[in-house]
Symmetry: C2
Subunit: 388 residues, 2 copies
């Protein structure tokens, strides 16, 4: 499973002591023969030191290793924080006998505090010594990147002559720009770097970028894809790109759904599907406006099918729709018809965790689904006490 499911990868997860308890440093290594890499990063202009480093390091399309830590975001830490990231990459390079420029760094945790490098650097050596391709090592790596995540997130798919595996973390400050949270995807596909890059961007667009838990974009979001070309049955001329795209997208969607399901304080997982939009962007815009409405999100927490809050959110956007013809269904009951009162709202059952909202804009043929969750007492509790 996860990042060692594809051939050509090793991983490790160890305890550095950056967090109060548990594993907090992960290492994923591509042992080749190919070492193609692609990545998407947060579009937040306040980008963390590891984002600034990794953006540069991956720009040549190659990465041999990714080192990830929880227990500190290393964001808003100035030149000293950037030097900490640089030292981390150098230590990985030294331990693996590779170039620091081929080491990507990801960090997650509290913003505005320096990392304890005295704890982190020895843990890099320990992780390098523990690298294996077995499932336990991949599980330990997935565990080591958790912050407020209550469970590890891993996924796997594949096709003819390739496997795709991945791990991700993220439970709060969870809304996409270019990408959201941390995720490492590995594949043994024989694929060119430009094809890998294009496939990653498309997969992220329709998966992580449509997960919006709390509308807050992180300073550290990073999604990395590594390709080794090591699959035993690989066709040297390369994988079928459509099949590869489908598998990569499947893994990203699986991980994105796991993130939303474990979002801080969530009692409901909500899928907002906008149909008959003029285009895919407008379908996404309408769904995201609803996903970011605190009034909608508290209503779902209270099991209240308050469709007026859905319409008032869509009404703030500039997408094509007529307020007099829009329909809205909650868990299959069309309680808003023609912009007004539809079926009996008491028919809606919101007792389960899964909630499906369908918004029919009647303006075209496009659709998109945004994943979000409700706004609960547990969210307020967790985020009012996070750093204190």
């Amino acid at each position: 499973m996860s990042v060692t499911a594809a051939a050509g990868f090793t991983a490790a997860g160890v305890t550095a002591g950056l967090k109060s308890a548990g594993r907090d440093l992960a290492l994923v290594v591509n042992i080749g023969p190919q070492r193609h890499a692609a990545a998407v990063f947060t579009s937040n202009r306040v980008a963390a030191a590891p984002v600034l480093w990794s953006r540069q390091a991956v720009s040549d399309g190659r990465a041999d290793a990714v080192v990830l830590n929880s227990g500190g975001a290393n964001a808003c830490t100035g030149p000293e924080g950037f030097a900490d990231t640089h030292h981390t990459a150098e230590r990985v390079a030294q331990a693996l006998d590779i170039s620091a420029q081929d080491v990507l760094v990801c960090s997650t945790g509290l913003i505005g505090e320096r990392l304890d490098m005295g704890a982190l650097l020895p843990a890099v050596d320990a992780a390098a010594a523990a690298l294996t391709d077995d499932d336990g090592a991949a599980a330990a790596a997935a565990e080591a990147i958790r912050t407020t995540d209550t469970v590890s997130k891993t996924a796997q798919s594949g096709g003819t002559g390739f496997v795709v595996g991945g791990m991700a973390k993220g439970a709060g400050m969870l809304a996409p720009g270019m990408a959201t949270m941390l995720a490492v995807l590995t594949t043994d596909a024989v694929i060119t770097q430009p094809d890998l890059d294009a496939a990653l961007r498309e997969a992220v667009r329709v998966s992580f970028n449509r997960a919006d838990s709390d509308g807050c974009m992180s300073t550290n979001d990073t999604v990395v894809a590594l390709a080794s070309g090591a699959h035993p049955d690989a066709d040297a001329s390369g994988v079928d790109l459509r099949e590869f795209q489908a598998a990569l997208t499947e893994v990203c969607r699986d991980l994105a759904a796991q993130l939303i399901a474990d979002a801080e304080g969530a009692h409901h997982e909500i899928a907002i599907t906008t149909i008959h939009a003029a285009n895919e962007d407008e379908a996404e815009t309408a769904g995201r406006a609803v996903a970011r409405s605190n009034l909608f999100k508290t209503a779902i927490f209270g099991r209240d099918p308050n469709w007026g809050r859905i319409l008032s959110a869509v009404g703030t956007t500039d997408v094509a729709f007529d307020p007099g013809t829009i329909d809205v269904a909650v868990n299959g009951v069309w309680i808003c018809r023609g912009g007004g009162i539809g079926e009996d709202r008491s028919l809606v059952d919101l007792s389960g965790r899964q909630v499906e909202i369908t918004i029919d804009l009647k303006s075209g043929d496009a659709e998109a689904t945004i994943l979000t969750n409700d706004l609960t007492h547990d969210y307020v509790h967790e985020n009012s006490a996070y750093s204190s």
Copy 2:
């Protein structure tokens, strides 16, 4: 005080029975000699029936009366809901012997339900019969427009030859587009309708439109200004427009601050002032991004001066600033300097209700203040139980 402080106005607040308890229908009448009116409305495309009606009715610059009800927003109610608004205006016109086209209608409450016209129409007659210019009538009117507001909001100012008074309501779904919530402003100034209109738009821009409680824009927001020209010491050539603008803006700012102070579940009133912005719009954009961050708002609830959440919110905008030079102060302590760690965060005292955030963008000379509040358990509780 309030809407009858200026000469030339009468008011009433009565109980129609639209709400479970208390007054719920208000009437404000301009008895002249002038009957200039200006209004700004929600920019939400899902606009309520009374907004559609009043937008048209005020388009000639004249209004003789405003009738307002709580206990139902009359939004998303289709042609039947529009007919209800029309009937309400006709009933007011009949009772006062004026034209229905000179009656503005405002409604507030739950979206997606018809008003009980059998209760509302007789209450119009009762309100018309109760009209007086005394303070008690104005207080009753201010009380009658409350929904989840825990207190009435009124304000007053004035200048040479004029008085400005006002009342407002709004505690949730409180974020501006062109205007937010319901407010009626009255003045006895001698002023032309175009000058009144321009003064209202400017006052709303820097007051109600900078109050953003929960980022959710209402379907019913309406701010109305009425001018009677009835001040006993009025100069027939008109008021000093600068003095009038200052007084009108003061009343609007006072009411906006009262709205934020009484926002649903708020434990802290937060003023986010962005300084040294490239222009006023960018100062507003930066402040609003912070005001809409649930992570920032829960941190303040938890008395946690989490400046990383402020920077990450500003970083999502496109305003001019350098992430390496930005400074942030919380209650006067510059805990973020140069985009990194500044003064000791333990020096920040968040035990009081008033919180002042200062964001120094170092990109120009403009500034703006956005008013908001924290995100609390009480907000979640109140909004998960509102309609059920």
